[in-house]
């Protein structure tokens, strides 16, 4: 842990502070960012103990007292250097949760028509805006206790696909997200829901997965 003195500006974000440190005080500081406007999900860090997207976190909101903030890398992920974590495990778990769409139409088929006011479409809308920043994963108690746990983001992704009427891999996906490494380990502590910068509730999606897995189980489809 190192201390830096940084000038204070109006509308300054945590990412601005980190950038200032790297440009003016310590050129060797490693951190990750790209869009600076809350779209890409690459700048998440632990700010005063709480995982946040730093580009959209104002210093005014983050500073607790005496004009000091502590900035650390995301938790629950291996640190490569300084503020940069290795996100491989995080994204590998999306793949393990079968987080990619599988359909049965080709480009010669007509478009699928999904009414935007349908119940499942609304559930997808509530969960689809994930930017993959890793804030939820870093805030999750279950991930810190059980490294095999797929985590909120991957399960949330699986949930949006389970609700997708065009997707054809539901049963395989339910198998992939069932059990100790999957949705059944969620304790509904709701840290992910509390911290998600996009206002998604992975807890709701995971609860949905639990119900879907149970239904498939009782129907003998698993």
């Amino acid at each position: 842990m190192r201390d830096f003195e940084v000038p204070r500006h109006a509308s300054q974000t945590v990412l601005d502070v980190v950038t200032h440190i790297q440009r003016a005080l310590d050129p060797a500081l490693a951190y990750r960012f790209a869009c600076r406007v809350g779209v890409c999900g690459s700048c998440a860090m632990t700010v005063n103990g709480v995982a946040r997207w730093t580009c959209r976190t104002h210093i005014d909101k983050a500073v607790r007292n005496r004009n000091e903030i502590t900035i650390e890398p995301l938790r629950n992920l291996p640190v490569i250097r300084d503020l940069v974590t290795d996100m491989r495990e995080f994204f590998d778990k999306w793949a393990r949760a079968k987080g990619s769409f599988q359909g049965d139409r080709s480009r010669r088929d007509d478009f699928s028509r999904i009414p935007s006011e349908g119940a499942s479409r609304k559930q997808i809308d509530a969960a689809i805006e994930c930017i993959g920043c890793g804030v939820c994963y870093s805030s999750c108690d279950v991930v810190s206790w059980n490294p095999d746990y797929l985590g909120p983001a991957a399960l949330n992704r699986a949930w949006t696909l389970i609700r997708d009427e065009r997707d054809t891999a539901s049963i395989e996906r339910l198998r992939a997200v069932a059990g100790d490494a999957g949705c059944h380990s969620c304790h509904t502590h709701m840290s992910c829901t509390e911290r998600c910068p996009k206002g998604i509730s992975p807890t709701a999606g995971i609860a949905g997965l639990k119900r879907e897995v149970s239904l498939a189980l009782l129907r003998g489809q698993l």
Partner: protein, 97 residues
């Protein structure tokens, strides 16, 4: 909270069952046991167990509601309601004790 109350209740239950099982040896053994429970420290522990049970019940109902009911923004009030219900039961038991 939910976890710790669950663990402690599981540890308590065998003792509870053995005590009740002593009824098998006749009402007298059972009464001797009940006399032991009149001690203040034991009484306090009993109250703790009842409170744990209420806490675990409240927390459990919260989880079931989150998992099985459609919900959006009332999860915080739900946690508070669970805590309030647990405290109410604890008070009722303390008053009756």
């Amino acid at each position: 909270m939910h976890r710790i109350s669950g663990i402690l209740l599981t540890l308590f239950l065998p003792g509870h069952f053995i005590a009740l099982g002593s009824a098998l040896e006749g009402a007298q053994a059972f009464d001797e046991f009940l006399a032991w429970t009149e001690r203040p420290l034991v009484k306090f522990a009993e109250w703790g167990i009842v409170l744990l049970l209420a806490v675990h019940l409240g927390g459990g109902l919260r989880v079931l509601a989150l998992e099985f009911l459609p919900w959006r923004d009332w999860h915080k009030s739900l946690a508070a309601a669970a805590a309030a219900a647990a405290i109410a039961v604890g008070l009722a038991f303390a008053l009756a004790l």
